[in-house]
Symmetry: C2
Subunit: 539 residues, 2 copies
C-alpha cells in the first residue's frame, strides 16, 4: 500500500467507522445525554477572559496540513470552544431569546445529520417535504384558523404554498416583504411584473413618486435590511415613535395618508407581535383596518410573540393577526426548537407564487419542490424538530410553557416594583420586560423633579451599561440591555432587558439576579457619583 492509499484508507474510516465507546467524543455525547446542565456547568467556564484573549485561540488562517485524531480534536473543542461558550441553557441566562431546550432535540439533531436531507427538492427529502408542509399547515392554522377544507386543498398543493421554513426571522421578514413588493408591482400591459422587469420599470408603470414601509421604532433591525436588499432603500422605512411601546394606529394612518397624498404608495405596514426589545404587541386589529384603508400589505412580525397563540388565556393578545397578509414566526424562540427554524406564513396560498422560480434540474413546473417559492435554496430538515415538538409537547404543553413564562414575568415585575432600588421601565405584556437600577434616593428625586432627569439619566445610563457588562463578564447570570424611549422621559434611556422564556428559571434565580446587580452597582464609580449628585441636589 502506498502512503496515499494508506491515508485514503484512514480517511474512509472517518466515514464508515464510528469512534469507540470510550473515545472522548462518545464521552462528550454521554455527558450531554445524561445531564446537559452538568455538562455545561462543568465545561462552560464562567471566566472573565476577554474576547481579545479568546481570539488568540482562533488566530490561525492556514488550514492545518495534517489530519488530527478525532479524540484529540474533541479535547480541543472542549478547551477552546465549549469552555468559552455561553450557557444559554442556564436558568440565569435571561438576557436573550435563546433558552433551554427539551432533551429530545439532542437525539433528533443526530438523526437530522444522519439523514442529511436537503429540503430544496423532493429528490433529496422525500418524506421531509410533506412533513414540512404539514408543519407549515399546523402553524398556519394556529394563526389563520381556516377550516379543514382549506387545508385539505392547500396543504400539499403543488401550485400553492402556505409559507416557507427558513433559517430565521430575518429571512422570513425579507421573504414576506419580497412577496408584498412583487404583488404590488404585478404585471399589466407590457409591464411583465417587477420580478421580471425590476423596480425601476415598476415605479414608472405604476407612477408612484415614492414607496414606503411603515412600522414603529421597535421594528426589528431586519426590516431595515429588507428594504435595503429589496432596493427601496432605508429611507423608505418609516419608523414611527412609540413612547408607549406600541404603534399608534391613528399615527400610522395619518403618516400613511400623507404618503398617499404626496403621490407615494405604502407597500406594507409591519406590525409587531412581541417587539424584540420590550415584548409589546401592536394593536393588530386596528392596524389591519389601517392597512385596509391604505390599501397595503399587512405583515405581522410575530417571530417572538407568535407562540402566544398556543395559549387560550393569552392568545387573544394577538387578536387581529388572522387579518395579516403574512406573518413571521420563529420556532427557535418560544417554541423551544434549536436555532435555525424560522417561518413565514401567507394568508393567501397564492402569495408565494409572486416569487416562484424554476430550474432545469429541480423545481420543475408542477413539482412539489419546496425550493420553488423560498428565498433560500438548499436547506436542512429543521421542520422535523418542530414537528416532534408539536407532537411531544402538544398544544397543551406549549400552552403551559407560554402561560408560566408570562406569569413569571408578571411576578418578576412585581419583585422589581417592590424593590427600593430598581425601576420597572416597561411592564411585561408577554415574558419580556425592561428595568434599571436606580438608587432609592435618586428615584425619589426623579419623581418629584422631572427636570432633573436630563441630568441624572445619562449617569444612570452609564451605570446600567457598567452593571450589565460586569454581570455578563462574571458569568453567573446574564441580562441584556437596550436603549429605549419611554413615556416618562424626553430622551431614550438605557435599560436591562430580560426574557423569561426558560421554564427552569425560578423566583430564587430572579431575586439572586437583582441582588447581584445591586451588589455590582455598589462597586461602581457611577453609583458614587450619583449619590454625590443627589446629596448636592437635596441640599
Amino acid at each position: 500500500m502506498t502512503n496515499a492509499q494508506a491515508s485514503l484508507a484512514h480517511l474512509y474510516r472517518v466515514f464508515t467507522k464510528p469512534e469507540g465507546q470510550d473515545s472522548k467524543l462518545a464521552q462528550i455525547e454521554r455527558h450531554l445525554s445524561d445531564n446537559l446542565a452538568d455538562f455545561l456547568s462543568r465545561h462552560v467556564v464562567a471566566s472573565n477572559r476577554s474576547l481579545e484573549d479568546i481570539e488568540q485561540d482562533f488566530n490561525q488562517s492556514l488550514i492545518p496540513e495534517q489530519p488530527q485524531f478525532v479524540s484529540e480534536h474533541a479535547e480541543q473543542l472542549l478547551d477552546k470552544l465549549v469552555a468559552h461558550s455561553v450557557n444559554t441553557y442556564s436558568p440565569r441566562f435571561i438576557g436573550h431569546m435563546t433558552s433551554a431546550l427539551p432533551y429530545f432535540h439532542l437525539s433528533l439533531a443526530k438523526l437530522l445529520v444522519g439523514l442529511n436531507q436537503n429540503l430544496v427538492k423532493i429528490e433529496t427529502s422525500k418524506a421531509f417535504t410533506p412533513l414540512e408542509r404539514q408543519v407549515l399547515g399546523m402553524i398556519h392554522r394556529l394563526v389563520y384558523n381556516h377550516d379543514d377544507n382549506f387545508y385539505q386543498q392547500y396543504l400539499h398543493n403543488a401550485n400553492r404554498s402556505l409559507g416557507s421554513f427558513c433559517s430565521g426571522g430575518t429571512i422570513a421578514n425579507i421573504s414576506a416583504l419580497w412577496v408584498a413588493r412583487n404583488k404590488l408591482f404585478a404585471p399589466r400591459g407590457k409591464f411583465r411584473g417587477i420580478s421580471q422587469d425590476g423596480l425601476l420599470a415598476g415605479m414608472r408603470e405604476y407612477g408612484y413618486e415614492k414607496l414606503s414601509v411603515i412600522t414603529s421604532k421597535r421594528g426589528h433591525y431586519s426590516l431595515g435590511k429588507a428594504v435595503d436588499v429589496l432596493g427601496l432603500g432605508r429611507q423608505s422605512l418609516l419608523t414611527l415613535p412609540c413612547p408607549r411601546q406600541t404603534l399608534d394606529p391613528e399615527l400610522a394612518l395619518k403618516e400613511g395618508q400623507a404618503i398617499l397624498a404626496e403621490g407615494g404608495k405604502v407597500m406594507a405596514l409591519v406590525a409587531l407581535a412581541g417587539t424584540t426589545e420590550t415584548g409589546h404587541i401592536d394593536p393588530l386589529n386596528e392596524l389591519a383596518d389601517v392597512a385596509a384603508e391604505l390599501g397595503c400589505h399587512l405583515h405581522v412580525d410575530a417571530a417572538w410573540g407568535g407562540a402566544t397563540l398556543f395559549s387560550r388565556r393569552y392568545g387573544n393578545l394577538l387578536k387581529g393577526i388572522e387579518r395579516a397578509d403574512s406573518v413571521t414566526l420563529d420556532a427557535h424562540k418560544q417554541m423551544y426548537v434549536p436555532m435555525g427554524a424560522g417561518m413565514v406564513l401567507f394568508k393567501d396560498p397564492d402569495a408565494g407564487n409572486q416569487v416562484r422560480h424554476h430550474a432545469q434540474y429541480i423545481l420543475r413546473q408542477g413539482s412539489k419542490d419546496l425550493g420553488a417559492t423560498s428565498l433560500e435554496g438548499s436547506r436542512n430538515g429543521m421542520a422535523m424538530m418542530l414537528y416532534a415538538s408539536l407532537h411531544i409537547l402538544g398544544r397543551n404543553g406549549y400552552e403551559l410553557l407560554i402561560d408560566q413564562s408570562i406569569e413569571k414575568a408578571a411576578a418578576f415585575a412585581t419583585l422589581i416594583e417592590a424593590h427600593p432600588h430598581f425601576q420597572l421601565t416597561t411592564s411585561p405584556i408577554l415574558c419580556l420586560l425592561t428595568y434599571r437600577f436606580v438608587p432609592q434616593a435618586v428615584q425619589s428625586i426623579l419623581k418629584g423633579q422631572p427636570e432633573l432627569a436630563a441630568q441624572l439619566n445619562p449617569l444612570l445610563d452609564e451605570l446600567t451599561v457598567a452593571i450589565q457588562k460586569q454581570q455578563r463578564e462574571s458569568g453567573h447570570s446574564f441580562v441584556s440591555r437596550t436603549r429605549l424611549e419611554i413615556q416618562d422621559y424626553d430622551s431614550p434611556i438605557n435599560v436591562f432587558r430580560v426574557v423569561l422564556a426558560n421554564p427552569l428559571t425560578s423566583t430564587t434565580d430572579l431575586t439572586d439576579i437583582l441582588a447581584e446587580q445591586e451588589r455590582l452597582a455598589h462597586t461602581l464609580p457611577q453609583y458614587q457619583e450619583l449619590l454625590t449628585l443627589v446629596s448636592r441636589a437635596s441640599i
Copy 2:
C-alpha cells in the same frame, strides 16, 4: 398538586431528564452511532410508495392537543419519516450533491444543539464568534492566499469582514450581489447611497439606462432570485449560451460592451467554478480580465467546485479565482459538512461594510457581532462543523477526497464511453458528469446522420426521463437528470447527471448502476419505439 401543576412538572421533565438508556430514542441514537449505513438500510424503506401516498401520513393541520410520549413519537418518526426519507449516505445515491458525511458530525450535531449558540451576536456565542471568523479566514486564505499580516490585521477586526457564514449558496450569492449593488451605487453629493436612498435614486444619480448581471446559461437559479429580490428584475440577468458548458470570455466582453454602449452598466459578472449541472469551470482568469475591462464586480459561484482548491493537483483548474471580488462556497457540498454551511467571501475586507447595519440592543457600533454584515440574523454555530472537519481531515485529507472524486468521475466517464449503449454527453472536469442511454443502433445512426437528431432526441429525452424516474422509485440507486444544450445538437437534450462525491462509491456501484439503467430501458415503451424507428430508418 393540581392537574395543571402535574402537567407542568411533566413538561419540566422533558427539559431536565433525558430519556433512559433503553428508550426508543436512545436505541436510535446508538444505532446511528454504531452503524449509520445499517441504520439507514434497515429503516429507509426502498419502497416505490408515491409521494401522494406519503402525504397521507402528513395531512393533519390541527396541532395535537395532548402531549405524546417521546418514545411513542420516536417510533412514528421511524415509520413515517425515516422510512420514506432518501438515503443520501448510500454510495449509490449519486444524483445530487448530498453525500455521506464523516461520523464525527453526528456527535458534533448533538454538541451544537446542546450549546445552542446564536451567532448573530457575541453575547450568545462568545467563543463561536472568533471560531467562525477563523474558519472564514482559513477559507479566505485558501481562495485569496494573502499573507500572515493580512490575516492578523483582518481576522478579528470589528470594522472589517472577510465574509459571512450563511445557510447556503443561495444566500451567499444574494449577499455577494447585494454588496456589489451597494458598492456600485455609492454615496456621492446629496445621494446617500443605495442602501439609504434606494435603487431608483441610485439609477437617477448615476444616470444608467439599464443595469445588468452577466453569467452563462449554467448560472445557478439562485442568480435569478438574487436579481429579483435586489430589485433589478430577472430581465437584467443575461444568461449567455454556453454549448461548450463554459462562458466564452469574448462573448461576455462583447455583450458587456454592448450594454455599456447603450448607456447601461454591468453590475456584476458571475463566473461559475463548478456548474451545478455539469461541473464545468468558467475561464476565471480571462473573465477577471473581462470584468476589469467592463469595470464591474466579479463574483465566482464556487459553491460546489471551490473545495477543489484543497487539491494541489487540481486546484489550479480554478486559477484566477483569487481575482474575484466575491466567492460563494458551500461547506455542505464537497467539504462533507452537514446541510446548512454556506459561505460568501470578499476579497476586500471593506466590502461587507456596504451592507453594515446596527441596532440598539445588539450589533452596536464597534462590536464584533457577526450579524452586523450578514443577510441573515440569528444563526446557529455550523461553523464548528467546518472547523472540526478542517482539523480532523486536514488539508491533506480534503485533498485526497477531492482527488479521488475527480479520478473516479474520469474512470466512470471511461466506463460510459466504452459501453455500447451509453453516451457521455459532458466530460467530467470535476466529479460531475452527464450521460444518457442511447441504444448502440441509435448511436451509429446519430453519428452518421446528424439531421436525424431532431427526430430521435425527443424520444431519447422521454426515455431518459422514464429511466430516471423508474430508477429513483425502485430505490436502489439514484441519479438525477437535467436538460442541457450540448455542442453536438441544435436543441437541448435530457441527460442523466451524476455527482461522484461520496468516497464510498465504488466501481462496482457504478457498473451496477449502468446495468440497472440498461435493464430498465429494455422494459420501457420508448425503447421499443426507438428501435422500430431505427429499423425503419436503416431500411
